[in-house]
Symmetry: C3
Subunit: 461 residues, 3 copies
């Protein structure tokens, strides 16, 4: 290209970049929240999970009140939470610290109360807050990115609001500290115990609850944990067995992301990369608080082998799906589905995304049945096995592997059936094929193809 | 119609009504129990669950004994239960109350002992018994109707006795107070704790166990509950977090039915009816023991949305099934199945019942595969989501919704397949169709159509 | 046969028997472990589960040390385990017993440490060890046979090592006492509590965890267990409700096999055989520590009925599979699969094994999809119901029965489909059939038929 034409791309870029920024700003400035704020309004309860954007103060009582007045009145109105506060260090500070009253976090004006976000807690707990925010450097999954990544995902806009609401309750961990230090004790001792994590960390995609409590560590905690001194910091020699926080937040560090090797099990990683070698040594050192370093190293190798084995199975399934895609046998195809908000409608740019690296994570909703089977295999069965291996619950490794075998079998059978039907359709001529299209497909179309379901959700979101 | 012929319907009614009563009486007077007592004899263990009808005293020891004598002897024979009794208020009454000995509930004659039913307990605990019985006004589901509604259900007669026995263990809550106040402590403190409810309230159709313990309430109970003073009544300020009983039996009321809005999740209701408005305010008041009323109201709205979403999916599945029914594609059809006891045999009056309002609840056994898939979607997946939303366990909302999506997909695929097979059968003529009937159908017939399986159960029930 | 030819079989036997012994010896003398030691090398972590064969001492520290020196140094290196030991009876022996130091079990030479196997513990705990080893008389399932039976199973060689490793963690119960008496407290009190068993006894094929804790026994343990005196022996009157060990190891007997009636639920047995009559009386006597003997007998009968019902369903499924086998419709068939190690390759001697009595247990891996469905029905669903009935968790009986119904339906449908496809294939001629072979079968072949997957595992095991 002649340099004299360089002004053309330069001009385009000069226009396109500000336009892009302008579009994102415009998109975020709707009534809802996140990148698709113009397509999405939350349910009422969400105000308590993302108070900065949506909380509106109760107006039942007027006036400004001192902290002592709050306590006096609420002792009668909501005695339980006042009792909690009385047991907290906020009400009984040590040394020369001041009492932290209700009003210090919620404000004095009862007409304009606010719910405390992490920034409010940071006024006193700066180190913890800084560590918490530091997680953002490591990408998702992450506590501190949990809310914004959720709100910016396309499928959060398309899914029925009732379902998305269920997701957001846990994702609110980014917006409030009482997910782990529950109100109004805000106890460090509480957060050291596994129960603090489990409200969110249970169920198919992250069975941390199930796998920890099935492990020997968990069983010893259940037997003896009530007698341990939970006021002690999470350090070598202080606890007979580890809890979630002992390993993942050792020494109380509020940044949980930097020791992560296998990426939450959702993508394949090279566990022996130079970066991961450093992390492996961190883990071996941690396990060596109680175990032989060789034991710890053996456990890591076992986890490497489990991951490798799981990804072999997952890639087999992916490969079957990619074969179907290249033969145009996925139905509904990406082009047949209603486009995500922001996508160009019609065939242009619509493409099946299969597997993690193509981004199926955001496409598990509103896809063809066989893709959903793969999603289940990847997001539920695979992670069952991973968490089992990571937390020492071998029954979950077996369950996960057996479930992956079943999924792979289902995918194989259904792929075969899709091909057989296509051939049988050709063999017995177009007559019956037409019939099929009219009846069988209609059932599917009612649900997916015409997008009525999605349209409904979008109208009501 | 001329009034002079009025005597004809009058005569018929005059004869029919007594005949009907006579028939029900006759039907109930068999060796078994319930409306189908002539078709159904329970297993031995059932005597302990429905003692009024079936318990026969042990005959190992003869003679009449005083309460003290019972205790002296059983201290050696069954020391555990005597130890329990010694810890109970029955053995250490307060004020001027008399000791309640073994004989006060079981009788003095060792040759004719009886097991105490709620009526026996009512002699001292009249208020609680009255509240318990008052539940009957609200219909099923209900503790006090649990046994009779089970015994009067047609499918309880048809199902293998081994399976029905499993149902009846929990349904015995209507016949004995020690389902919650376990013998021989009969402790109120025990029944205030969630474990008292969980022996029955766990598993797919009512995962109250799973959802409560995954909630923040449940996790705090697990951490701290052992230190709370369980002798306190279930009132505002007495407990840091609620338990099952705190919310559903507030102030210790033994009538659990009158605050129920969503009907256990098994049917669609209008949550904003005037009756439900009253109940909503009761709930908001209850939640306000600790929470902002706006928070409570937001949670109820979230549950409304979850219910609406779930019923959208359920109605889609129902609609597919109704389409198959109207095209005569359900196999076995109602007419092909052995009739329920009391039903007229053959084609007459046999009709598929699809979904809750048509009464599928009692038909989930002995149905065509696709109807069973719907049952699973409605009774297991739907209730998983409902209980998750009701108890604050969002992971169960997600699991339930994902499972409903899978079920809907399975139902859609199988409906499509049934239609394709029908068309393919026409296309490739009767020759291969006949082959199909001879082989494929035979397999089905062995299991369902000829009713051998059902006949066997009925003969052995 | 003329007796003068008797020398021929005699000669053959004389040669064959030593040859057989020689072959087994040779097969066991490979680098790995068990009967297929030449085909199988374990992962590193396995050294800790089968130390006799694989553990190699850490070499980090040189020299010989006294017990006191071990303690002094490890107080700093691994304080947690030293704290555990300090709480154990090993460090605070009663009467005139000597302190049991680290070196008494691990050796003094830090260059040649060993991990203690049951034989090491037997030096002091001879009675318990003798009872433990006595289990071998009763066959598998068994604690003391757990490791050798696993290592000698053909499918342990063929399955991916990552999966087998998960199995072996629990099967190591045969090689080390700290599966139940966890290091370094080695507490009897710990092993009396259910948590000691649950690390292994949970999950689909043996949901002892789930079923015990859903039972009234389990719920009362959860409520009150923390206040019981666990130093007491497992005898009548010492505990308000039983735990796993109270019933299965009554009076602390370390032989768990001799009271087993229903064979772990994996095979059908006659529960009224003379041998089982004796066992039934043992159970009734045990239950009578707290319950009426009639109650206990009723529970056993309920379990008989549950078993009978489950086997009816299982035999229906077996019968469908045997029908497919006799019509040569299982694909891949036994002959098409890669032979197990030690088997003669090719068609000779290859035969489908269907159901427990034909030995499917060792064949659930690498089988046709419909056989796998049967395996799931038999090994997961059936055992769910069995354990539910055995431990008093009726929700699991229902879940298991419903799941068996679903499996049976799936097997029936898929068998029908296999037959329909075969007939449709004939009807629409060989043309489309060929297409099917080229495409559909290829997918399957990639996974099973050519054995690449199995070959890979075998090369890397």
């Amino acid at each position: 290209m002649h340099t004299r034409y360089l002004w053309i791309p330069l001009l385009i870029v000069t226009i396109a970049i500000p336009l892009g920024f302008y579009y994102v700003d415009w998109s975020k400035s709707g009534e809802g929240a996140g990148l698709y704020s113009r397509d999405w309004l939350p349910q009422a309860i969400f105000a308590y999970w993302n108070p900065d954007d949506f909380y509106e103060s109760v107006k039942s009582v007027k006036g400004e009140f001192s902290g002592e007045q709050c306590v006096d009145c609420h002792q009668g109105v909501t005695p339980g939470i006042v009792n909690d506060w009385r047991k907290s260090r906020h009400s009984k500070p040590v040394n020369d610290q001041a009492v932290v009253y209700c009003s210090d976090c919620h404000g004095n004006n009862h007409d304009d109360l606010h719910l405390p976000t992490p920034g409010v807690c940071a006024a006193c707990h700066a180190v913890q807050h800084e560590q918490f925010v530091d997680e953002k450097r490591y990408g998702f999954p992450s506590h501190s990115l949990a809310m914004e990544r959720a709100l910016d995902a396309k499928h959060f806009v398309d899914k029925p609001k009732a379902e998305v609401t269920a997701c957001l309750q846990c994702h609110s961990v980014a917006s409030k500290c009482d997910s782990c230090h529950s109100r109004h004790r805000f106890s460090a001792a509480e957060a050291r115990r596994p129960e603090a994590c489990i409200t969110c960390h249970s169920g198919p995609p992250h069975p941390d609850d199930e796998t920890y409590f099935h492990s020997k560590h968990g069983q010893l905690y259940l037997q003896e944990g009530k007698n341990w001194d939970w006021s002690k910091p999470l350090k070598k020699g202080n606890y007979p067995v580890p809890t979630c926080a002992y390993c993942h937040m050792d020494n109380g560090k509020h940044q949980v992301a930097d020791k992560s090797i296998w990426g939450f099990g959702i993508k394949q990683v090279n566990p022996m990369s130079s970066g991961n070698e450093v992390k492996r040594n961190q883990w071996i050192k941690l396990c060596s608080d109680c175990h032989d370093p060789d034991w710890a190293s053996g456990q890591l190798k076992q986890l490497d082998a489990e991951r490798k084995q799981s990804w072999q199975k997952l890639y087999q399934a992916e490969s079957i799906l990619k074969g179907l895609r290249s033969d145009d046998m996925l139905s509904p195809s990406a082009a047949q589905r209603p486009p995500y908000p922001g996508d160009v409608p019609g065939d242009f740019m619509q493409r099946e995304r299969i597997g993690f690296f193509e981004g199926q994570a955001s496409a598990f909703y509103n896809v063809s049945p066989i893709e959903r089977d793969y999603f289940e295999m990847w997001y539920f069965n695979n992670l069952k096995s991973y968490k089992g291996a990571a937390h020492g619950d071998v029954s979950f490794v077996n369950e996960g592997q057996v479930a992956m075998d079943s999924s792979l079998e289902k995918i194989t059978q259904n792929a075969e059936r899709l091909r057989q039907l296509a051939e049988a359709g050709k063999a017995i001529q177009d007559t019956s094929r037409k019939g099929k299209t009219d009846k069988g497909d209609n059932i599917l179309q009612e649900i997916w193809l015409r997008g009525e379901y999605t349209e409904y959700n979008r109208d009501h979101n």
